[in-house]
Amino acid sequence: MKKVGLALISLGLAGSLSAQTEIDYQLHTLDNGLDVILHEDHSTPVVAVSVLYHVGSKNERPGRSGFAHFFEHLMFEGSENIDRGQYMKLVQSNGGNLNANTSFDRTFYYQVLPSNQLELGLWLESERMLHARVDTTGVETQREVVKEEKRLRIDNQPYMSFQEEIFDAAFGGSYYGIPPIGTFEDINAANITDFEDFYNTFYVPNNATLSIAGDIDPEETLAKIKQYFGKVPKGTQEIPRPDEKPESLAEEKVDTIYDNIQLPGVFIGYRTPAQGTKEAYAVDMLAKLLSDGQSSRLYKRIVDEEQLAVTVQAFPYTLENAGLFITFGIVNQGVGLDSLVQSIDAEFAQVRDDKISQREYTKILNQLESDFVRQNSRMAGIAENLANYHVYYGDASLINNEIEEYRAITPGYLKEVAQKYLMPENRVVLYYLPENEQ
């Protein structure tokens, strides 16, 4: 035992950081407002071409939930020069892969291509931005596909309705009240006029960031980008940017949901600050303290020592204008939900009441550093991170030094933030019970 202790101490001392490889990048803005980020790396002949549109489900109008995501599906349908069904084929049959995702705050498209096909990527993304083409056949097919996606990911999965339930409880009535997948009713209601409006409002260069990373020559690439994107007209409409903060919770909200499950579970969501704030960085660290790794507090106590749950996890869901710190646990067979919730609450109380030890603090920073290194291991990840930091944090250089934001947070500040946000009156609690207990 003693030997182990020594080993740990020496590690603590060795904790000074070795230099991390810097990620160099260039940032340009075209005349039409398109932001361009370029990162050059020749280690593998691949290039990631991505476009981030600053639009998500937050921008949907009432009665059209799920629209931003539905729209994303249609952006693979083709353009004036690309026939229906050819968009994905053009990428894949030329050795690339592609995908997209839609969240509350953004829609992100990416392709990873052999680097000799860079121009193909530019052509495809500029076609999408310039004159994407959507017809009723596409709308109707993708409507079914999107509904299947909802069934697959949410309706047909045990516990997964929690997404709808928890965002409704925590943000109901605001633009964060319905998850990006939307409701069947609203998906059914979307029509082709909606698509045209949405396209003209949000899919404009002044609402987009083109981020490219990989085996490129930046100068040549920029010239090509100007050729492909320079003529895309700037949007003429004002881009709605909902920025009023969702109302805070007046008091704790508790609800019970009966689902097709065998083991009861609990989902707890604390309302927390928006991403990029110092407080949000502190919330990230609290989540690591509580639930990253088997020595984390929730895991150690609840899964390991008290054996109350098969799993317990906390993750900070930070958004552009707000955050939700979600903790969930699923009980072991024969364990009551009450005892699980009590133990979770006790750990949250401790985070509020006691300053964390230096050892735990160092551990969290080491874990963050490790995550940080990992997320930049591929070109696609680098392109995405650069775009994200640029658009939502206003500073792409965070890709190299975000870790400093965490290092600036002290154990005392963590406690303060816990006391401010991880409070019962600031949360929603959802109990999940098996249907047959109803």
């Binding site: 590690l11 100007k226 050729q227 551990k363 291991s377």
Partner: protein, 692 residues
């Protein structure tokens, strides 16, 4: 001077040209010449104890990964299924040097990840901790403590996990597919259950580890920000004392292959989608020549959004969010499979599409464009995979483990390029076996079961892998057969309206399976109270081919083979057919009625009512839950040819004289006959003469 100016102008025009050059948007741009892929270097070394070490140096990120793979044959676990996997988890529960709590703290403190399975262990973290990472991996792999306390916890958790798996469609599907494809007595088809988990003792786990974990069966790969010489030294230091030993080499019989397609279903009544999987076993080992053509065939069929399955089932039909296929090469027995999560209503259509795609790939050569696209896709993926230094280690490991040629991966794309469309077709025809498919479905059994009968014999399974009865839809509590019949009478128009019908004439067109389309068949049915009955079938050019007549006393059947006066049971049957709305008389006639359940009939939920006559003959009627109308009738009869089941569907109800009559009657068994009602007349004052 002039020359200089001209040059300058030239430069200016050229620069402008570059900025404003018109690009041709109508076509995809030409690719530049492809860059050759560069393979990094790796090093393989075997230690004295037989451990094979693979080293890949890559300094791009300050990060290192080390993992070990124990190459052992699959283990049959029998009534303790689950112990091998539990043994793998036990390796992470503390070592003789570090109890679990300290181990957890150490790993997290380093910001590292460490995980174990029954045949592998993995660690990754920042390269500043390289020696510590290797030391931890060795400690976990060589000195596991197998603490009883942690074993009990894991066992308890496994029991909870197996409980929650009961509702998880992904897990249900994987269990059902493996169990029914490989069989319960094959290591790939064994299922963990509550019982088998409860049977596991700590000693089982320890024994497994001691028997199978040996340096001479182990590959250790270390990748990332390392120095080779230093790393080798650490490996010798921490793994060098591990002693070589002989490990068991169990043999297994090949799984039984079904002689015709089979359909296996787990009923999950809450499902909004059916999780479909179709597949067969294949005999194909890693590195064999057929792997490349099969990979291309599978690529074209079901990889990514370019795959035919995706294009057909998602982009064309909108049945699913994604449909894919895959194959596995394996030293013991490999597998081909395809699947999708489709919405319940289109389950059978989706299976048809899968089969059509299989068939097309097996019988028609793919186009050269499609083949080239598939090759490019694979080559692109190959190139992208080299972004990660782990890929190189994986290549090295496969070369060692499967005894592949040294340059297997360097020549991979070159060899793939030589595969022809005919080669792809042949591989598809050999390894995709529609006639021996195992089709599994997890979904609303009562809805999909009947529809899937078209594809093979249907069996239902439970979570444990045992066969069970076909599921029923729920029947509202307290509902009785009498009430179902009453709703039926009400739906027809009510007792009063039925009583008001004194006679009735129906003219129908009949389409009879096997009858040449040039010949038209018609049927006329006449009824008159109390029990006159005439049913006459005529075929153009042949006259009356069948006639049944009951005049209140005697029954006569005549046809092409002559005329027969009925007696006994046959007469009683015909007499019953002659009754007006017999359902309203069941009670008076002392028929027994029993509500046996509910199931889907075509697209609607229907209650099944078993009707037994006093003479013991019985049939089952199905009444739609929503409309109350009769939608189906099934009866069985013993005949000299054996038991013959007759199935009749009733649809397109329309009102005539205040009463609802079905205007489409489909007999699907024993012979397919569809009766299309052309006209119904009621109370036409039919006389006894009409029943001659």
């Amino acid at each position: 001077m002039l020359k200089r100016i001209t040059n300058l102008l030239l430069i200016i025009t050229m620069t402008c040209g570059a900025l404003t050059a018109q690009i041709d948007r109508s076509q995809p741009p030409e690719a530049k010449p492809a860059k050759p892929l560069e393979f990094g270097k790796y090093k393989v070394k075997t230690l004295k104890n037989g451990l094979t070490l693979i080293l890949v140096e890559d300094h791009k990120l300050p990060r290192t990964t080390a993992y070990m793979v124990v190459d052992r044959k699959p283990v049959q676990e029998g009534d303790k299924a689950g112990y091998v996997s539990l043994a793998g988890q036990m390796l992470r529960q503390g070592t003789q040097n570090l109890p679990k709590d300290s181990l957890d703290k150490t790993i997290d403190y380093l910001g590292a990840d460490l995980s174990t399975s029954s045949s592998s262990a993995y660690v990754s973290g920042l390269s500043k901790y390289n020696e510590r990472l290797i030391q931890l991996l060795a400690d976990v792999a060589l000195n596991p403590a197998f603490p009883k306390e942690e074993f009990d916890k894991l066992k308890k958790q496994s029991l909870s996990n197996i409980e929650s798996a009961r509702d998880n469609p992904d897990q249900l599907s994987a269990r059902l597919f493996n169990h029914t494809l490989y069989g319960g007595n094959h290591p790939y088809g064994e299922l963990e259950t509550k019982e088998t988990l409860e049977n596991i003792e700590l000693e089982d786990c320890r024994n497994y580890y001691q028997k199978y974990w040996a340096p001479n069966r182990t590959y250790l790969a270390i990748i990332g920000d390392i120095k080779k010489w230093k790393t080798k030294r650490w490996v010798k230091k921490y793994f060098g004392d591990w002693e070589e030993k002989e490990v068991p080499q169990p043999q297994y019989e090949s799984p039984k292959v079904p002689s015709e397609p089979i359909v296996n279903i787990i009923n999950r009544s809450s499902s909004s989608q059916t999780k479909l999987k179709l597949g067969n076993t294949i005999d194909l080992k890693p590195g064999e020549a057929d792997v490349l053509p099969l990979r291309l065939a599978n690529q074209i069929l079901g990889v990514g959004s370019m795959g035919r399955l995706f294009q057909n089932l998602r982009e064309d039909k909108g049945f699913t969010y994604g449909a894919y296929s895959s194959y596995d090469t394996d030293k013991l027995v490999g597998e081909f499979s395809a699947g999708a999560d489709v919405r319940t209503e289109v389950t059978d259509s989706a299976v048809s599409e899968f089969l059509a795609e299989f068939d097309s790939l097996r019988t028609q050569p793919v186009s050269s464009k499609e083949l080239q696209g598939a090759k490019n896709y694979i080559a692109g993926g190959f190139g992208r995979s080299l972004e990660s230094p782990q890929t190189l280690a994986r290549f090295a490991l496969n070369i060692e483990r499967y005894d592949l040629p040294e340059n297997y991966y360097e020549t991979y794309l070159e060899r793939m390029d030589k595969v022809t469309a005919e080669g792809v077709r042949e591989a598809a025809a050999q390894y995709i076996k529609p006639e021996k498919l195992t089709i599994t479905a997890v979904g609303k059994g009562a809805v999909i079961g009947e529809k899937l009968e078209a594809f093979g014999t249907v069996h239902y399974f439970n979570f444990e892998g045992d066969t069970v009865e076909a599921p029923n839809l729920p029947v509202p509590e307290g509902l009785s057969a009498q009430e179902v019949i009453q709703s039926y009478v009400k739906a027809l128009g009510g007792q009063e309206k039925l009583d008001a019908v004194t006679d009735l004439t129906m003219h129908m067109n009949a389409s009879i399976q096997g009858l040449p389309p040039t010949m038209e068949a018609t049927s006329t049915v006449k009824r008159k109270r109390p029990n006159y009955y005439l049913n006459q079938v005529e075929v153009s050019g042949m006259g009356t081919v069948n006639k049944q007549l009951y005049d209140g006393e005697k029954g006569v059947v005549s046809g092409m083979r002559g005329t027969k006066t009925l007696e006994g049971e046959e007469l009683a049957e015909l007499k019953n057919s002659a009754r007006f709305f017999i359902e309203t008389q069941y009670q008076d006639l002392n028929y027994k009625m029993e509500l046996t359940g509910a199931e889907m009939v075509e697209d609607q939920k229907a209650y099944a009512v078993k009707i037994t006559a006093p003479n013991g003959l019985s049939h089952t009627d199905y009444y739609a839950a929503e409309s109350g109308l009769k939608v189906k009738e099934v009866s069985s009869q013993e005949t000299p040819q054996g038991n013959v089941t007759s199935v009749t569907f009733y649809g397109d109800y329309q009102e005539v004289g205040g009463v609802m009559f079905p205007h489409e009657i489909k007999v699907t068994s024993p012979q397919k006959v569809t009766l299309d009602v052309k006209e119904i007349k009621v109370n036409e004052s039919l006389s006894e003469e009409d029943f001659q």
